[in-house]
Subunit: 315 residues, 3 copies
C-alpha cells in the first residue's frame, strides 16, 4: 500500500480489516516496527479523535509523532504559476517535499470549502499533498472522504454483527451547521466491499454525489429504511446538488427510541462528535444499543493497521 486516501488505495480491504481486528487484540505486538520512523500530521482543520487515535496508533508501532497545526497562521499557496506576493508564504510544492524530509508518513486533514464543489470533489488539497509528498500520505479526513473512519466503522460492524449479512442503514440527521459529506461518502464507499445490506435514507435534496450513490439503495422513507435494520449509522451532511446548502426538511429526522423500535434491535453508530437531542436523543445515546464509544475506540486500531501497511516493507 503506497498511500491511504480512499478505498481504491487498498489492495486487499478484507485483509486490512482483519489486521485492524488483530491489532486490537494485541496493540503492542510490533511495538518497535516503526522505531526511528516519524509520522508528521498536518491539520488544516482541528481534530480530537483523529489526532489522538492516530497518534496513539503510531506510538503503538514505535513511531515518533510530530503534529503541525496548519490552521494557525500557516497559509499555503496551492495554485501553480502564481506570483506569490500575497499572504501565502509557502507553496505546497516546497511544503510537501520538505515535510517529506522529516517524515516517513504524512497525515493530512483538510475539510472542504463547501463552496467550490468542483475543487472539493477533486479532493484538491489532499491531492496536492499526494502529488508533491515523497513519502506515503494518509488521509486524516479530506474534503470528500474519511477512510480511517470508514475502516473503523466496518470493524465495529464486524464485531457487533449477529448475522452473516446484517442490514446497515445510513440515516441523515439534522444539524445546526452545514457539514461535509466526507463521512457519508466514505461509508458507502467502504460498505460496498463489506458483506452488508446497505440502505441510505435522507430527505429529498440530500442525495449523495453520483459517484458515491451509484449502486447504493436509497430510501426517502426513514421508517421503511429502518425496518429490520441491524445497525443504524446516523450522520448529518449538507446537500451535494445545492452544494453546501441545507435544504429545508419538514419531517423530524432525529433518532429516537421510537425509531430504534422499528429496527431489529439495531446497534446505534455515529462517528462523533454528536449533537445530543438534535442528531439523536439522549435516550438512544445512553442506551446499551449505542456503540459510539467502542466505535471511537476502534479508530486506534484502524489507524494502526493502515500505518503498519504503509511502512512494513520499508527499511
Amino acid at each position: 500500500m503506497n498511500q491511504f486516501t480512499c478505498l481504491e488505495d487498498v489492495p486487499d480491504p478484507q485483509a486490512l480489516l482483519d489486521k485492524a481486528l488483530q491489532w486490537k487484540q494485541n496493540p503492542l505486538a510490533a511495538a518497535d516496527s516503526a522505531k526511528g520512523k516519524t509520522l508528521v500530521m498536518v491539520f488544516f482543520n482541528p481534530s480530537l479523535r483523529t489526532r489522538l487515535s492516530t497518534e496513539k496508533a503510531a506510538q503503538n508501532l514505535g513511531f515518533s509523532v510530530m503534529t503541525f497545526e496548519a490552521s494557525q497562521g500557516w497559509q499555503l499557496e496551492m495554485e501553480d504559476q502564481i506570483v506569490m506576493n500575497t499572504d501565502k508564504a509557502e507553496h505546497i510544492r516546497e511544503a510537501a517535499a520538505v515535510i517529506s524530509q522529516y517524515a516517513d508518513v504524512i497525515g493530512v486533514r483538510s475539510f472542504p470549502s463547501l463552496d467550490d464543489r468542483e475543487k472539493d470533489y477533486q479532493d484538491y488539497i489532499l491531492g496536492r499533498f499526494v502529488e508533491y509528498a515523497q513519502v506515503p500520505v494518509i488521509s486524516l479526513e479530506s474534503a470528500i472522504r474519511h477512510p480511517l473512519q470508514s475502516l473503523t466503522d466496518w470493524m465495529t460492524i464486524k464485531e457487533h454483527q449477529k448475522q452473516a449479512r446484517p442490514k446497515v442503514v445510513l440515516s441523515w440527521a439534522p444539524h445546526p451547521k452545514a457539514l461535509p459529506q466526507a463521512v457519508a461518502n466514505s461509508f458507502v464507499e467502504w460498505m460496498q466491499v463489506a458483506d452488508v445490506d446497505l440502505v441510505v435514507t435522507h430527505p429529498e435534496g440530500y442525495e449523495l454525489a453520483p459517484d458515491f450513490r451509484q449502486n447504493v439503495r436509497q430510501e426517502y422513507d426513514q421508517q421503511k429504511a429502518f425496518e429490520g435494520a441491524d445497525f443504524v449509522y446516523t450522520k448529518n451532511w449538507s446537500a451535494y446538488s445545492d452544494y453546501g446548502q441545507k435544504p429545508t426538511v419538514k419531517k423530524d429526522w432525529m433518532i429516537s427510541l421510537e425509531k430504534m423500535a422499528w429496527t431489529n434491535e439495531a446497534k446505534f453508530m455515529h462517528c462523533l462528535p454528536v449533537r445530543r437531542n438534535v442528531v439523536v436523543a439522549d435516550a438512544v445515546l445512553d442506551s446499551p444499543q449505542s456503540i459510539v464509544i467502542q466505535q471511537a475506540g476502534n479508530r486506534t486500531f484502524a489507524a494502526q493497521a493502515v500505518l503498519h501497511e504503509l511502512i512494513k516493507n520499508k527499511v
Copy 2:
C-alpha cells in the same frame, strides 16, 4: 489511588510525599513502568509549569503523552438534557469516554469562572470529567484546587525545614488581576496533614471558603503572622465572600526584605508565575532565601509520584 483531584483521594499522603522525594533521587528508576501507556492532558486554560513538569514526569515513567489544548476552539457542552443546537459541538459524556479510549490517565486543567461561585465550588468541570472518564483523572489545577502544586509545596518544605515542626505562613499578595483561590485552598488542605504550624494571613475580605479555612489559624496582622516564620508562601487570590472580586486593601501586602526580617530567616515560596515588585520585591526573589525555582523543579517529582500511583497496579 483511583484519581488525584484532592487530598481525600490519597489513601496515604505521607507515603506519597516520601515517594515524590524518592523519585527526585532517581527519576529514571522505573523508566519502563508506563511503557505502552498514554497520558492525555486536556487544557481548558494555558499552562507552562504544569504542562512541562507533568509531561516530563510522564516521560520519566515511559508514558506516551498527548496534549489537547481545549482552549482553542473546542467547546464542550457540560449540561445534561440539553438540545445541542448552539456552538458547542461535543458533550462531556462522549468527550470523556472517548478520550478514555486512548488514555490510561487523563489530566484536566480547568480554571474557575470566578463568576458562578456555586458551580466553581462544586468543581463542576473536573467533576464532569471524573464522572464520565473511564480511566483515572489527575487534576492539573481545577476551579478550586491545585493538588499537584500542594504536594510539591509540601515536598519543598520538607527538604528545607530546619526543625521538626516549622512555622509556615501563607500570605496573601496584591495582584493586578482577580485570580482563583485554588492554590491557597489546596495549600491549606494539604498542610493539615503536614506536621507544620500553619498561619494564613490576608486583608479583611479575603477569607478563604469555609470548607477550607476551618481548622486554619487566621491572622489579619501580617507582621504578627510572620514572627518566627520558617516559610513564607505568598500568593494572590480573589475574594470568596464577594466572589471573584478584589476588595480594596489599604496596607501594603507585598513581600519585602523588611518583612522577611520579621521572620526566622524564612524561606520564600511562590507557585509562579510571580509579578515582581507587585507580589514580591526583586530583592527577596533574587536572595538566597527564595526557593521558588527549586519549588518549580519539584513539580516533576510530585507529578511522577502521582502518575506512578495511578498506574502501578494496572497491567
Copy 3:
C-alpha cells in the same frame, strides 16, 4: 560546546560540519545517547522547518521533546527592576530558570522587532534566555542570526561543490514583506570559516550591519556577482541602515533562468519558505539546479550534530 547561538560558540566549526555529515550517513548511530534527556523548544515565532527538523534530530538521539508556543498568550517581561502590573505575567528570570528544571537543552526562537535596532542587534531576547537559563541554549533563529540554518547551508555546499574553493553568491531578493536580516547575517558569518569565495550582492540601501559585512566582498551589480558562481543563495532581508524598512529598488532582483545562465551552472539555494515568482522564478526552483529540498533535509543533521555536542559530556 556550552551553547549554540553563533559561530563563536563553536570551538571547532569544521569538526561540527564533519559530524553533521556523519549523522546524515547514520542518523540512528547513537539513538540512546540522550535517553532520559529533554529538549524544550520555546517559540516566540512560528516555525515549520526548524521545529520539525530539530524535533526529528532530537528524537534521533533519544531526547524527549516538549514544545512551548510562547506566541499564544504567554507574555514575558524581559526588563529588570520593573513593577509587573501590566499584561506580562512572568519574568524571564523565572521563566528561563524554571524551564531549565525540566530541560537538558532549551531551544529558543525569537524574531527581531525590526523597530528597535539597538535591542535587536544586542540579540536581546535570546541573550536574556542565555543569561537566566541553567542549561545550554540553542538558537532556533534569533533576532540577528540563524546558525542552525548556516551550518545546514555549509553542509549543503560541501555536499554539492565540484571544486576545492567554490564561488558562493548571496543574492538579495525582492519580497512583499519586511524580513529579518538573520539568515543573511548568519550565512556570511559562517562562510568566513568555510573555504569558499563569497560575494554578497544587493541593491543600494540593503548593506548588512557593519559587524557582519566586514571582510565580505560586496557587489551592487548582480550580473557581475553571478559570473562564475557555483552556488547562488538567494534571500530577502530588510535594510539595516534605514532599519527594518524596504528602500525602493529599481532593477529586478528576482532569480530567473537568464540570471542562472550567467553562472558556472550554479546550484540554487534558499532557506525556505520561498515566494515563487517573487524571489525566484518557477523555472529555476523546479530545475535540477535547485537544491532547496535537500538543503531543508540537511536541517535535521545540522541540528543533530549541535544537540549531540551540547549533551555528549553530560551524565
